[in-house]
Symmetry: D2
Subunit: 387 residues, 4 copies
């Protein structure tokens, strides 16, 4: 039984859906072939480019982000192609497994789940790839399982330094609309995203932002393509239409969340996420605990994975926190199971809500008799006050 | 411009309406003469008795609580009757003014706005009233302008000690469903309430709980009565009907909020309000500030009126808090204007949300460069952890 | 058990609340003393004047329309004043009863419940009132119990012809935003309305539009006034504030319904109601039945009261229609109980919905084996097609 | 500009989403790894079996129904496999095209778009297939582009008569929850469906119901599978979990629509659709027009495709109907463009709403000066009355 009072969904996505987005989604479904829908679709697809930081098209599937992963691969590659997957955690691994299942040769650049993609390792591997066997490099911008953000400009620089022509495919599922992202400047060829994190929607939309090199690659890519095929999507999106029935009500919500982002201003949105992330780390430090991320330039703006002290079971702590404070936190995934819990601080959240979340977590930890060196909430509020 | 992120309505009512109540209210309006409505009305009117702590009927007007004040007076009294108003703050004063405007002789028992109704003064005054001129004593259970709760059992004892037969009319607008209330045991004859505080609804319903002595008084009360007349309300409510069009959608919401109260259990609801109130005072103490309430047994469970230090303008601080933290606080009323701000901690709120509110307030106060001795949030969280 | 499928609320008010109004009302309640609320209140109170057809102020109470009846009386009159009530049906009678209960001398100008207020009778009575004992004439613009609209310009002309200075108080509960209404031109002094009919909101708001003669009368009116007092309402409304907690969420809905009326244009709204009313009468005629209204210039644009043939019980027919077609119709009130049912065709309704309603009614009547001469639906559709 | 009044979405899907489903979907998104979600998922996945008429598992993708088409193919077949597609209209053709794009050999059994799948032709073709090259037969149960339903028991009998072991894959996108469907009795191996028609939800969920032969086929099927792979879905669904983020809010809505279907009873749901379909044909006949479906046993219960008279442009008529009656109809697809319009009468619709739709269509047709022999509405109401 959770505590009474408002429930807080502080997993690292889905994030809390703003009530105005929920209300927008409660509009009756309309004809997706009619003029009202066409105007809506053209509007949101156009405005999405700004949020994706690109001048090139963005397509939206009725799917989870996993579908958008698959779309990025099957539209640009051919069965048997080699792809290089920078291991950063559970989600980079799952994307890699998906590539393997689809028939790609998925080569893992190993990582320790406490750092982002290693630019030097990528550069070295690509330099070795003299015959250009590697067709794509797959990087998760913000690894949702660890709270580690990869440094994409450095990854780009590494690929350039190696003089390698592989495509760069980037998962921004938990970074988009949370932190700066400039695919056109950084030479990202396909951006993968979902609706349920920085975009503050329920899950159900998967996105690809498609750069010009990816579009060229799609012409010769050898995977058979049906549902995920970019071509009919791009052809019809210009008219505000879709090749099959779109998730109309989520698009209503998207129009609203794009309004919210525009009202606040993306630069302010990014600054807010940075501030909340730093405050969360201040709380963790005050407890005397450690975060999963090890590199000071790689802290995620969207979530913090907190390592629990030896002898503590992170999942038991999460259960106590849910029970005492009605706050849902993310669990440790894969090898991190039981060793970390993850606090999402992305989407619709501000200083007061973050402080409330940290207070609830702290009260839960205290109730579970976890060892706390000091008041994390006080440290977080102090950090917020200085920011 | 308020800060981005979720708005928190922390005035001492209306309180934050839970999303499930808002959704319940979004049901299409139905025929208020049909069987579905009748079942709804009988259900909520029945369950309201439990929340009002009475075995006697409760009536619900489409009105604000001010209307329910008027109803309590015109159904039990006659023009020219003398009533004794215990001054505890702005709302007791306004009720007294209303009585005066309606043609009653409204006698004020003066107060300093930092204490509840004074049982001894009531006893003394009633003892002096040998000929029984005083027909009713009017007490505000929880004075929303000051955060001071009157001790009703002592008031009752005082009236009994004086051996006086005046009716006892009690305003529970900001106490009902927040703190223990037992009108049948305490000899309260009419209870006045509204929908927008402990009942967690938008404003628009006014309530009277009517004890047997009040019902008897209504038979001879001399005020002309139309809209507020109890008689047709009581006659029709038995069948789930109303003498005029009820506020149907608010009744949908009421059914939902009654569910929420039942799920948590009233005793738990009361304990939660006490705990949050104590934690708020701990925060104020840590800031080195003072609360308006002076008597340790009279702290309101629903709100805390915080006195700002000399030289500070409470309304400027409120404006900064709204701007920096998107939290709306209550202003100082009447003579307290600019001298206090009021934090509502009633209705749908739990430890985490309160901590978030206090953090937002603290950040706003810091931004406004108000002098703060220490971290109120840390003190509040510590208090919550001990509770 | 009602039939499956969408329920249609075709009583003559509350009318079907449009989904966009319901969604607007589901917004979280805000501080009614804050700047966002002030802007909202000023906006809706300003735009209401246009819908009430007046340049003078409109006030909005948290109340049913019955409260607005009371407000109109107590603000303009004194106990013992004589008022002239034109009997047109149940609601004119109830308003008259209310006046009587409040202590006015309520004189009834008798009517047969099949005609509107009789201008000649009013003129005759006022001519006889040489000493000006009659202080106000009370007319229901559109009698919701009978579907008969009174001809207000003729009533005004009659009062002028009599050279009598009585105030003219008009109930527009079921006519406002359904048919043309020009109080300033017609010399109406107080207009009474509610939220749940032409304004397409749930019940819970009562309105008074206050002309200059009424405002002058309020200065000397002798009724004690608390809740209903115009003075503080008018004083505070200028700043977007209310003397007591307003029904905030209904005001959200009102802003939306005012948008809808503006989008369609009031002249189109009125034409639509006329057209649907005529089509409904065409259906009744095709069934071989009779409507309650007898005067061709007095058909209500908002509802049609249908007289059932001898031997039929209107309430049984209504029950069958609810069961077979999931359509709620209005019952016969007072002496019309069992003799009529009432079809509301006001608010959010268009040709297709009306045809559906009439089809559902016809199917229900057929299921109940009521005698039908021909197809009312076909006649109605033909009438709509010609319009 | 559409007419004022409630919009009716009478395309053959998405159907009008009931307001209670929209409200259910407006609940805040929860953690899809938490216990509350698990209970929800187990509940809806279990109850879905009843609606799909099967004792075998049903899986739900975040996708459109097109995705569920793809899932049915890639889980059961291998690249290069031959499939037999019974051409019945646009959707059977599109499914066939999808099979072709994915690398199957998609053989078309030609049809005239006015009949369902031809059992005899299927039997003949399968008898000729001595070496079992045909691995699957693909049939659209209810062809949404033509309003023709295929007779599945006869198709099954034909396959049995041929003694052929091909899988039977059936699209029930516009038939499920509208008409009887018994995959276990009829030997259907995979059923494909979406959320937005008989299930009365917005689009965004794609379904496969998976029979035992299909499950066996999945073990050897050679397509690479990622997003659409049944195996992890089936493995995790038992615990109420999904292999990737599910469309949580649509599952809220699904729980509600399953309640609605259970409240009415599936047999009643089917009877209602049959009745409304027959009434619609009665209207078309009264206009003197023709429906697209030619076989009396193959009329769709969900929609009626109406052939417009020579010289009329169906799309112009649709535009006039939208403008005059605010009703959206489906257009003619492929070769039927401009020659038919399609009236959806599926999902949340009853006799009264259908009559209203037909009245609106008739008024629009009259406004467009299309030749009408008589009153379709009257004929429809008469047909409904006899039913």
């Amino acid at each position: 039984m959770a505590a009474p009072g408002p429930h807080l969904l502080q997993i690292p996505g889905p994030s809390n859906v703003p009530e105005r987005v929920l209300r927008a989604m409660a509009r009756p479904t309309i004809d997706h072939r009619g003029p009202e829908f066409q105007a809506l679709a053209r509007d949101v697809l156009g405005r999405l480019r700004g949020v994706f930081g690109t001048e090139y098209p963005v397509v939206a599937y009725p799917s989870s982000a996993t579908g958008a992963w698959e779309a990025a691969l099957v539209n640009t590659l051919s069965p048997g192609d080699r792809v290089l997957c920078a291991e950063t955690g559970q989600f980079s691994t799952q994307w890699c497994v998906l590539a393997d299942r689809l028939g790609l040769v998925a080569e893992v650049l190993p990582g320790d789940w406490r750092h982002g993609a290693d630019p030097q390792a990528i550069e070295d591997r690509l330099r070795d790839d003299r015959d250009g066997a590697v067709k794509a490099v797959m990087v998760v911008h913000n690894e949702t399982s660890t709270g580690v953000a990869s440094r994409l400009p450095q990854v780009r620089a590494a690929m350039d330094a190696a003089g390698h022509g592989a495509l760069l495919l980037v998962d921004t599922v938990s970074s988009l609309a949370c932190t700066e992202y400039r695919p056109d400047d950084w030479g990202v060829d396909v951006t993968v995203c979902g609706s349920q994190k920085g975009l503050m929607l329920p899950p159900g939309l998967g996105f690809n932002a498609i750069g010009p090199r990816a579009l060229a690659a799609a012409k010769t890519a050898g995977f058979p393509r049906g549902y995920w095929d970019w071509a009919p999507m791009l052809a019809m999106n210009g008219d505000g239409l879709f090749p099959y029935t779109p998730a109309t009500n989520l698009l209503y919500g998207l129009a609203e969340s794009l309004d919210m982002l525009a009202e606040e201003g993306l630069a302010n949105v990014f600054a807010r996420h940075r501030r909340l992330s730093a405050a969360t780390r201040a709380a963790v430090a005050a407890w005397g605990w450690e975060v999963q991320c090890r590199h000071p330039d790689e802290h995620s703006p969207s979530l913090t994975a907190v390592r629990v002290p030896d002898g503590q079971d992170a999942d038991r702590l999460r259960a106590v926190i849910l029970e005492t404070a009605n706050i849902a936190l993310g669990n440790g995934l894969g090898p991190l199971k039981g060793k970390v819990f993850r606090i999402g601080h992305l989407g619709e959240i501000n200083d007061a809500r973050l402080a409330g979340v940290l207070a609830g977590v702290e009260l839960g930890l205290a109730a579970a008799q976890a060892p706390l060196a000091g008041s994390g909430v006080a440290a977080a509020v102090a950090a917020l006050g200085r920011a």
